[in-house]
């Protein structure tokens, strides 16, 4: 998929953040283009939140540069809408009150704030909670309120740190569609440890681990480059390491195979026709198969391919 010469809205070069000895963000560089949804994907502790906080200006960078097309801080403030990983809200104000209040703090006239507040509450399914104090909302509602708070001043760039965390499946679909609907007019950066979320939403993904970006591409390209078609996961009962290594080396002749603990992950086109052959060879080698699963290639596989380990929640 080719992107027609996009306008870079944020340019990050050599960004670093150390906490004492820990390099939480370790020399990363990337650009975010106007109008795209850019996903930062990585396990917990990868450095996503730290990166986001530096972009928003909440955390000073140890090194590196963040450039918003050379804009001034005051302008950047209005440009960014931030939904933090942890829900942050005014507990004693109602949903509607805090949206209007925050809008006012961005110099938006009250009429317009009220209009936008109602619109956002409507779109995020909170309209019947508009007069409820935020502290009395459920976790999922607080999450949606936080997304609304990020958008009240109609920012050009929306930064969402784990937007789907803590959402029930229904509101997850609602929020996902909502974010998708914004993508035409806004630039969105979102972080997630959920492959599925990023796969469905992002135009481009940066895969992050241990403070480093390992790869940046579209989900489509990533999935393709790592292996097309299907993925077969076979869980075996543990045997000695030598025996397992021998099995892998045999299978390697024919298939693209990765071992992750007791899990053998095999990638190939039209795997369905080959399952029988594969399982037979495993059984012949003296292994017991616990479970076999056939599925489509996902970003998770990309991650496993890149890092040799799975994404843990």
């Amino acid at each position: 998929m080719s992107v027609p010469t996009p306008e870079t809205i944020i340019k990050i070069t050599g960004l670093k953040k150390s906490f004492k000895d820990l390099a939480a963000v370790d020399n990363i560089s990337f650009e975010v283009c106007k109008g795209e949804i850019f996903g930062l994907l990585g396990p917990n502790g990868a450095g996503k939140t730290t990166t986001i906080n530096m972009i928003c200006g909440l955390l000073p960078a140890s090194d590196g540069k963040i450039d918003f097309q050379s804009r001034e801080l005051k302008e950047i403030k209005s440009l960014i809408g931030y939904c933090p990983q942890e829900n942050i809200y005014f507990p004693k104000l109602t949903c509607f009150e805090q949206l209007v209040f925050m809008g006012n703090l961005y110099d938006i006239p009250s009429d317009r704030c009220r209009e936008r507040a109602m619109g956002l509450l409507e779109m995020l399914g909170l309209i019947n909670k508009s007069k409820v104090c935020a502290k009395n909302l459920s976790g999922g509602m607080k999450r949606r309120l936080n997304i609304a708070l990020a958008l009240i001043h109609d920012p050009g760039i929306l930064i969402l740190d784990e937007p789907e965390a803590g959402l029930d499946p229904q509101s997850r679909v609602l929020v996902r569609n909502f974010i998708k609907s914004l993508s035409k007019e806004k630039t969105i950066i979102l972080t997630s440890h959920n492959m599925d979320e990023v796969d469905r939403l992002a135009d481009r993904v940066a895969i992050m681990d241990y403070g480093k970006i390992m790869l940046i591409d579209t989900p489509y390209n990533l999935k393709n480059s790592i292996g097309e078609g299907d993925v077969l996961e076979i869980e075996i009962i543990e045997e000695s390491a030598d025996k397992t290594a021998a099995l892998i080396s045999v299978l390697k002749h024919e298939y693209n195979i990765i071992q992750s603990g007791n899990l053998l992950i095999i990638k190939a086109i039209h795997l369905i026709d080959k399952i029988h052959g594969i399982t037979s060879s495993i059984k012949e080698a003296g292994f017991t198969i616990k479970e076999t699963k056939l599925r489509e290639n996902t970003l998770e596989d990309v991650f496993i391919h890149l890092t040799g380990r799975m994404l843990r929640q």
């Binding site: 928003c56 909440l58 801080l73 942050i88 005014f90 004693k92 703090l105 961005y106």
Partner: protein
């Protein structure tokens, strides 16, 4: 615009933090009430019992009883002067009264003899041989007895003079000092307690400043276009309102309990506002040093005690000045703004001075407020409100 939003928002939040508001607002009236009770129950109080054994006398076929007349005279003399803490009760049974003297329910017993009237009449006619014998009973080691006996004796002498028409050998004139002679202990403590009710702002104000940090909503404020100055001004405006309500409630309680308001209401409000601002400024310093409302409740106690006990808020506090600046004493506790506020209120409400007399206090209040605010803003901004 942004300032107005922060004021409205802060007002709503203050109103919805109902319990902390009630706690702050009730402290002044509560202290007034407690002091009133303490002062009322510890007021000097002298009970004098009188047994009148006077049989009376018939002078030109008119019966008279000088004993009864004396009791009326004594009671009248007490009622005439409002502040006299003497209480006179007529008694009949000597044993009962002696018992109550032992129990300290009565401070002195005066017994008027059978021939009291007769003696007085004869004395008036000039043929007195022996004086009438008035008996006093009481615990000689008890100050209350001594004062009661003195007073009864004094009154008896005046009565004799009046009823026999004899001349004074000397005349003593007594004058109270200034207006303070009309001021009760209760009145004296009111200005301090009024300021104490404003000192209590330290809690609502600090919590208002710190709750944004505790809820992390300070992040939202930081990212928005509101300045630290607007944010602080907004909260200050709301807290001034709380301070004024607090001091007015305290004043109202005092007035209900008998305090008389003197001085100009405008000057009173001016001092209330200045003190509120200085306490809010001080709160900002506490907010800069803490992170949560719980920490505020712990850390805040230290300055609260200093402000309560060393500025004259909870009880009158005097100390020698280190030196004097343009005739105004500079003291160590002068570093605490309530000291000046209390001094100003004392001048206005107790000594009935005018605005011109409290200029030094007002200047000191303003200077301290500015110092508190600058320190507070710098610390708070640095600790909680800077974008990197």
């Amino acid at each position: 615009m942004k300032l107005l939003s922060i004021i409205i928002k802060s007002l709503k939040e203050q109103w919805r933090s109902f319990w902390i508001l009630i706690l702050t607002l009730s402290m002044g009236p509560f202290f007034i009430f407690v002091y009133y009770l303490i002062i009322e129950t510890s007021k000097p109080h002298y009970d004098v019992a009188i047994i009148n054994n006077d049989k009376g006398y018939i002078l030109r076929s008119e019966p008279l009883n000088k004993g009864e007349e004396f009791i009326l005279f004594f009671t009248g003399s007490v009622k005439d002067s409002v502040n006299m803490p003497f209480f006179i009760k007529k008694a009949h049974d000597k044993t009962d009264v002696l018992q109550s003297l032992k129990n300290k329910k009565t401070d002195a017993l005066v017994i008027i003899p059978e021939d009291f009237s007769e003696h007085l009449v004869k004395q008036q006619d000039g043929d007195s041989t022996t004086p009438a014998e008035i008996q006093f009973y009481g615990d000689l080691t008890n100050v209350n007895y001594l004062l009661s006996a003195l007073w009864a004796n004094e009154t008896m002498n005046s009565f004799i003079k009046v009823s026999t028409g004899s001349e004074d050998l000397i005349k003593i004139s007594e004058t109270g000092i200034g207006t303070s002679s009309n001021i009760s202990d209760f009145d004296m403590i009111v200005p301090g307690l009024l300021i104490l009710s404003v000192i209590m702002l330290m809690f609502t104000a600090t919590i208002a400043f710190i709750s944004e940090v505790e809820n992390k909503t300070i992040i939202r404020l930081k990212l928005s276009r509101i300045s630290t100055f607007e944010f602080i001004t907004g909260i200050t405006a709301v807290q001034i309102i709380v301070g004024i309500i607090s001091i007015l409630l305290t004043l109202l309680t005092a007035v209900i309990l008998g305090f008389e308001f003197h001085g100009s209401a405008a000057v009173f409000i001016l001092i209330a506002i200045l003190t509120s601002i200085s306490m809010i400024a001080f709160s900002l310093i506490i907010a800069a040093l803490t992170k949560t409302a719980n920490e505020v409740l712990i850390v805040g106690n230290f300055p609260l005690f200093l402000f309560m006990f060393f500025t004259g808020a909870a009880f009158p506090f005097r100390s020698e000045g280190l030196f004097s600046l343009f005739g105004y004493p500079v003291t160590l506790q002068g570093l605490m703004s309530p000291t000046h506020a209390i001094s100003a209120l004392n001048k206005i409400m107790i000594m009935q001075m005018k605005l011109g007399d409290i200029i030094p206090e007002i200047i000191a209040l303003i200077i301290l407020t500015v110092i508190y605010f600058l320190t507070g803003i710098i610390l708070y901004r640095k600790r909680h409100m800077t974008l990197k």
